[in-house]
Amino acid sequence: MTIVAASRVSPRRGGTGVRWLIGRLGGLLFVLWAAATLTFFALRLIPGDPAEALLGGPGSQASDEALAAAREEYGLNQPLWMQYLAQMGRYLLLDFGTSYSLREPVSSVIAEQFPGTLLLASLALALAWVLAITVAVWSARSGRIAGALGSALEVVAVALPHFWLATSLVLLFSTTLGWLPPISGRSPSGLVLPVITLAIPLAGFLGQVMRESLLNALSSPFAQSARTRGETATGVIWRHGLRHAALPAIGLSGWAFGTLVSGAVVVETVFARPGLGRTLLSAVQARDIPLVTGTVLVVALAYSLVTTLTDVLDRIADPRLRTEANA
């Protein structure tokens, strides 16, 4: 009986805030554990000897003694499951180890590189929202041709690969026009091109979702009803449409943040910008297991936190999620 009856009751139960938070926390720990485990085993699957990577890669021509010593030091001669358990134990004590390639504690490398990437991703997300809302509102206001044009723009934007976009922007704004630096240092002007590169494909994606739900909201009976009270077309968009349009986009923003971090790998490399993405890329190339795992964990943590944040925002924007659905 319970299955049928329970599905009649609102499946998204309000629940108390504390219970909800505990649930989220449990989910977060699970995600972190899964990320750590997957990374650990995935890196062991790459052909080659980790001890060799430890000593500077295949080109280093390390002696057998040196390799044996390294294996001994890092526990690489123990069975895989022991290595795994030892690794997990260290993570529990918040010890992320020392980077093979940089000879620095992983935690300090991440602390140094993460803020720049976070800033890049946040700005790109904000810009993507502004672009998406602009295109959605413009095409909703200006009729069918504008709608088709907006939709086409969005499809093109979504399809643009980051590396191509980055190179084209550098060619246009740095090489030809000379407005902006091609190398992104720590200066604010260096942020412009990387942010635009990341924002444009994302804006296309968010725009598609927003425009659809905006048009749905504008053609719904409640929008019509507002018009009969004397609300202007613009007023209906601001007071009714945008909130409905934002709902699905808020949910997607958590996912979008994840793609932005993976996009940062490309963008930081193209613009020679210090950051977590670039660190991750070189760490993978160097088979720097502690650094890769540490970076993946931090990204997974950030991703989970952002998803939780979007869930909270969702509940603020959509009161229906807070109260139980009325029978």
Binding site: A5, A223, S225, R243, N326
Partner: protein, 528 residues
């Protein structure tokens, strides 16, 4: 006061608030105009009802009065005036200033006409914010006053809620409050009572009638003749964009001149005794199945149980949220004798659907028992029950959602026949599909069409045919005609009645329309 002033004051008092002359509305790409050269006036304090079936142009006429006829609409008229203001060639800005201030509108679908994300108070405040210069404090006071006047209890709580927290009746009252906020002299109510159950409907109608009494010119659009009879002073009947008959309410309803008006009145189930056919004439015959003589005598010998459904003390509670359980059904008992109809009425949330689900064996009662055709049903384990599932079927309000849009009618019915297991051969299935279509009054050429290309009435007939495929003895009819126009509704009701007599079917008939229930039921169960 000068003579001229007296003259103009007298003229304003006498002049109708709504004047429509020669209004024609065409939509791009349509063959014929949606509204074809109609002429109407409504005086202050008068309620004019515009009746007709969907597509007759009622709503387009109403929307033209606020300049919202829709995208691609070409509106032309000799006169189109509200409160002395001609709408012809008026700019969008001036139309916006007029909407809500001069003409208030109550829209068609109360359940979805409030923004689910916005506070009730804001929705009611809209017209005040747009059309008055009141301070926010004064506006808030006025909103509370409007909600009170519209019969909403505890307005202080309600202003801070959203439409999802309100019942259908309260939502409609909020919409009325929002429409009246800026004190319009003209009120348009487009089907204000659809989807409301009868008690709520009467309250809403009274509220609208009060506006007319207070001097507002009211345009009521409805297909519900009971509603019209209750509050309208005059009635205009629309068909295919034209007004075919117009006059005082009692004259039109009691002494209709035009054949179409007569047909509409005949189709209404109000005050029609049980088993009386609603429609007569050749069209009605055609849509009814050919009578199956001889069938009854053939199946008569087997002993039949006296009761199709028998419920004893059914109780169901939903556990909602934090271990608090909400009773949905409490000690409900009823008996449905074979070959009869039990009407099931009650406001939304009263457990009608839950009861239907128990009858269909989709849900277990917490306590009590339901017996099907004399045998235990709700207490039987699913394994044993499956064999008897074919005995009971269901027909719902919107069949479209339960049809695979890519299937043809033939595929839909053949599937139902096959599941029945009775006719394994391909030829046998084809014959059976034709038989089923015939039994619901559909021509066999409809078999190759897809559900979305059918009319609402045809779809409901296909749904009935599908339910009949398994040769059920009991049918649950859950609002089967609520989405249909009166004449189509009458055809379906006549069909259901004929099927019941031919096959000895028993119906559990759920509806919010008391006229339909009264016409169709042998006994009525009310849930509260």
């Amino acid at each position: 006061m000068s003579v001229e002033a007296i003259y103009s004051a007298a003229r304003v008092g006498a002049a109708p608030l709504v004047r429509i002359d020669g209004l024609t509305v065409r939509f791009a790409g349509a063959d014929s105009p949606a509204v074809d050269n109609i002429t109407l006036t409504i005086a202050a304090g008068e309620c004019l009802a515009l009746v007709g079936e969907s597509g007759s142009g009622k709503s387009v006429t109403a929307r033209s009065l606020v300049g919202l006829a829709g995208a691609g609409a070409q509106v032309s008229a000799d006169t189109l005036e509200v409160n002395g203001l001609s709408l012809l060639g008026l700019s969008e800005r001036r139309l916006e200033r007029m909407r809500g201030a001069v003409v208030g509108s109550i829209s068609q679908d109360a359940l979805v006409s409030l923004d689910p994300l916005r506070l009730i108070g804001r929705e009611v405040d809209d017209a005040l914010r747009l059309h008055t210069r009141l301070s926010p404090t004064d506006r808030r006071a006025r909103v509370l006053q409007l909600l009170t006047q519209s019969g909403i209890p505890d307005p202080e709580t309600r202003v801070g809620q959203r439409s999802g927290e309100l019942s259908g009746g309260l939502r409609q009252r909020v919409l009325i409050a929002a429409a009246l906020a800026a004190g319009p002299r003209i009120l348009i109510a487009d089907e204000p009572t659809t989807a409301l159950d009868s008690q709520v409907r009467d309250g809403v109608l009274r509220l609208i009638a009060d506006q007319a009494t207070a001097g507002t010119a009211v345009l009521l659009i409805s297909h519900d003749l009971t509603a019209v009879a209750a509050i309208a002073d005059r009635v205009a009947v629309m068909k295919d964009g034209r007004i075919v008959e117009e006059g005082d309410t009692s004259a039109v309803l009691h002494n209709p001149q035009h054949p179409y008006t007569r047909q509409l009145l005949a189709a209404s189930p109000a005050n029609k005794p049980r088993h009386q056919l609603l429609l007569s004439g050749p069209t009605a015959r055609e849509s009814l199945p050919s009578t199956r003589t001889g069938d009854r005598t053939a199946s008569a010998p087997e002993p039949r149980p006296a009761l199709a459904l028998e419920a004893t003390d059914l109780s169901v509670a939903f556990s909602s949220g934090r271990d608090r359980s909400r009773p949905v059904l409490q000690n409900v008992s009823f008996a449905l004798p074979v070959g009869t109809t039990l009407g099931l009425v009650g406001p939304s949330g009263s457990g009608k659907t839950t009861l239907a689900r128990i009858a269909l064996g989709l849900q277990q009662p917490d306590s009590g028992e339901l017996r099907l055709l004399g045998k235990p049903w709700s207490s039987t384990p699913e394994k044993l029950r499956r064999a008897d599932r074919a005995l009971i079927g269901a027909i719902y309000q919107d069949p479209l959602g339960s049809f695979d849009p890519r299937s043809t009618v033939r595929a839909i019915l053949a599937d139902a026949v096959q599941r029945d297991g009775a006719s394994p051969s391909r030829a046998g299935r084809t014959t059976r599909v034709t038989e089923l279509l015939d039994s619901v009054g559909l021509a066999s050429n409809i078999a190759e069409r897809r559900p979305h290309s059918l009319s609402g009435g045809q779809r409901q007939r296909v749904a009935i045919a599908r339910a009949l495929a398994a040769e059920p003895r009991v049918l649950i009819l859950d609002e089967p005609v609520s989405a249909l126009d009166v004449t189509i509704q009458a055809q379906i009701l006549d069909l259901l009645d004929a099927l019941q007599r031919d096959r000895g079917l028993s119906y559990l008939f759920i509806s919010h329309d008391t006229d339909v229930i009264a016409h169709m039921s042998d006994s009525v169960l009310r849930l509260d």
